[in-house]
């Protein structure tokens, strides 16, 4: 028999500031974007209020957009996988070092955030450019006469992404490694595991939540980027975000920009939903707090 419980409104009072903030700062803008995607772009920057699906039809039929989605997905996967491998190692080192001042190592990870990420991205021009540090050294050593071209291609974009997003991966993996009991690996070792087997049996599975959380962040951040391809990529290295940027800033076609924005939001939303189905979102809070 179901017991009737009186509706208790008090939790909702407490939640209301947060709910209001989310409603005004997140839900409302998204609704505007959705509404805007039905307008018609008459001329540069001139829109006509309407309810029609022209923009959506363009999106669904033009392979240019599909190609961009595919390229974005591919780039996000490459960056995420590389960041997972490259980030796990320093995270493991920081978690397991006997070095007394661990906070210093963590501070070093956070330090780059104090410099604009655009500036950090541009620094690669001075490292990998034709007049950059690497080519300078190679030429000085006489290993090459001509500068090796490393910039303005997909490789440079990947390097730029990894550079900027790696700390997110490291911090997430670090947090979950820190939470693992120090005696588990020794226990596995005494039961017959080599160091590598003990890592695979114990540490790796127990750090998967952190690895997954870091991967989600890096994936979403990469897939939503447009600045890095502009600074480090060639003409063909655009991502979906660049199409939005072009539509809104260059072509002043806000209805198409709104359509593309909503699409990106929707696709990344699906990724987050899939993730939370498997992992739950708790791990993200842990790492971010």
């Amino acid at each position: 028999m179901a017991k009737a419980t009186a509706f208790d409104p008090r939790p909702w009072y407490l939640l209301s500031p947060a709910l209001l903030a989310i409603a005004f700062l997140v839900i409302a803008p998204i609704c505007f974007i959705l509404v805007y995607s039905f307008y018609i772009n008459v001329d540069l920057g001139v829109d006509e209020v309407a309810f029609q699906f022209g923009n959506w039809q363009d999106l669904l039929t033009d392979s240019y957009y599909h190609n961009a989605i595919w390229k974005t997905f591919r780039m996000a996967v490459i960056v995420t996988v590389l960041a997972a491998f490259l980030g796990y190692i320093p995270a493991y080192f920081i978690a397991h070092t006997n070095f007394r001042r661990k906070w210093l190592l963590l501070l070093l990870l956070i330090l780059p955030f104090w410099v604009s990420f655009i500036i950090r991205t541009m620094s690669w021009i001075h490292i990998m450019g034709n007049q950059g540090a690497i080519n300078g050294v190679l030429i000085w050593l006489g290993l090459t006469d001509e500068p090796i071209s490393m910039m303005y291609n997909e490789f440079a974009v990947i390097v730029g992404f990894i550079h900027v997003f790696l700390p997110y991966m490291i911090l997430n993996v670090y947090v979950s490694l820190e939470g693992i009991d120090r005696n588990l690996e020794p226990a596995a070792r005494t039961l017959g595991c080599t160091p590598w087997q003990a890592f695979r049996e114990v540490t790796l599975p127990l750090s998967l939540p952190g690895l997954a959380a870091g991967s989600l962040l890096v994936f979403v951040l990469t897939a939503g980027s447009y600045v890095t391809p502009i600074i480090l990529g060639g003409p063909n290295d655009f991502l979906f975000g660049n199409l939005i940027y072009d539509a809104v800033v260059s072509e002043l076609n806000w209805p198409m920009g709104a359509t593309l924005s909503f699409t990106l939001l929707f696709l990344l939303g699906i990724v987050v939903v899939i993730y939370s189905r498997f992992m739950g979102l708790n791990q993200l809070y842990k790492a971010l707090s």
Binding site: D181, P186, A187, T190, G192, V202, P205, L206
Partner: protein
């Protein structure tokens, strides 16, 4: 035969010497306890036996074979940690079968062994649960099952009872001893709790600051402490300054400021000769209190005052002032206990005392 031997084992962490030239034999099938205060190097010794730390100097032998360079996973040891260290992402069954899997035991045999091990620790049928679904005491039983199911050559236990609450601790320590006795595995038990050590051990190794202070059977270590540290670490002991007056006959005569001159058995005097300074050890439970002026004739006694009392149920502990020193006396309450401030006589039994050489102030 000694199953595990430490030969002059030393361990330093950087400039810090955690273990200083330790020699210990662990007899086959015995239950040996490393006892000492926190930070004295017990865990470090255990980890060296396990192969989790490499000795800086000396040799470790297991079953007569030098194992300094044998990696952990080839030593066939069971280890139980204070905080259980069960694999949280594996079921109880998988936890216990873990070591069997790496020993190539078939699934069917492993399942049988797991269920036998669970019977031994009296937790049958929990194979499919996860560690967090069990209480602390149950988790520690599982950890024990996981360690013994592989039939280890040596069972290493690092303060396995310390995380449990008092009642459970006593219950589990009886059980642990019973299981050890039944399967007869050579066991090395680490604790800072002297009552655990006295209750469970065949042999106790008392340690302090990385050094072995004394090793022997529990009652030997308790009744005939070899150093001041051992005397005061196991139970409450009174240390009374003394000078040896003569050491001719079967007895050694000592002079004390508070109890005058008396004789102790020669074997209790640690070879001290005339003129040597030392300390008479009188255990708190051997110190008898009498109403003032009614101390037995011919005994060794001194006048004193009860300064404080500490009732512990049937037992009472007195803190007694005799001249410029404070002594402790522990006894069963019979009749009415002495009140604080009472003038009393403190009696010691010389034949139950030990005399230790005065120690050089250590580093």
């Amino acid at each position: 035969m000694a199953q595990v031997e430490l030969r002059g084992v030393t361990k330093s962490f950087g400039a810090f010497l955690a273990v200083k030239t330790v020699d210990i034999d662990f007899q086959e099938g015995s239950f040996t306890t490393l006892l000492g205060p926190s930070g004295c190097g017990k865990t470090t010794i255990l980890r060296m036996i396990a192969g989790l730390e490499k000795p800086t100097g000396g040799d470790i032998l297991i079953g007569g074979r030098r194992v300094n360079d044998v990696p952990v996973h080839k030593r066939n040891l069971g280890i139980v940690f204070q905080n259980y260290a069960l694999f949280p992402h594996k079921t109880i069954g998988e936890n216990i079968a873990f070591g069997l899997k790496y020993r190539g035991v078939s699934r069917a045999d492993a399942a049988k062994k797991v269920s036998d091990a669970l019977d031994i620790v009296r937790l049958p049928g929990v194979e499919d649960r996860y560690p967090t679904q069990l209480s602390g005491g149950q988790q520690q039983r599982i950890a024990l099952a996981r360690a013994i199911v592989i039939e280890p050559d040596v069972l290493l236990l690092d303060e396995p009872l310390s995380a449990l609450d008092a009642n459970l601790r006593e219950e589990l320590r009886v059980e642990l001893k019973t299981i050890q006795h039944r399967i007869g595995v050579t066991s090395v038990f680490v604790t800072h709790d002297q009552s655990e050590a006295l209750a469970m051990s065949d042999r106790i190794v008392v340690m302090s600051a990385g050094r072995v202070q004394q090793q022997g059977e529990p009652e030997e270590v308790y009744n005939a402490p070899a150093t001041e540290f051992v005397a005061s670490f196991l139970g409450a002991a009174n240390l009374i300054e003394a000078t040896v007056a003569s050491a001719d006959g079967a007895d050694v005569v000592v002079d004390t400021r508070h109890f005058g001159r008396f004789a102790v058995p020669k074997k209790a005097a640690n070879g001290l000769g005339p003129g040597a300074r030392g300390k008479v050890v009188a255990r708190a439970e051997k110190l008898k209190l009498y109403p003032a002026a009614s101390a037995p004739e011919g005994g060794v006694s001194a006048p004193g005052t009860v300064e404080a009392t500490d009732y512990q149920g049937q037992i009472v502990r007195y803190f007694v002032r005799v001249g410029d020193i404070q002594l402790q006396s522990v006894g069963m309450i019979d009749g009415s206990p002495f009140q604080e401030g009472t003038e009393i006589a403190v009696g010691i039994r010389p034949d139950e005392c030990v005399v230790l050489p005065a120690e050089e102030p250590s580093e």
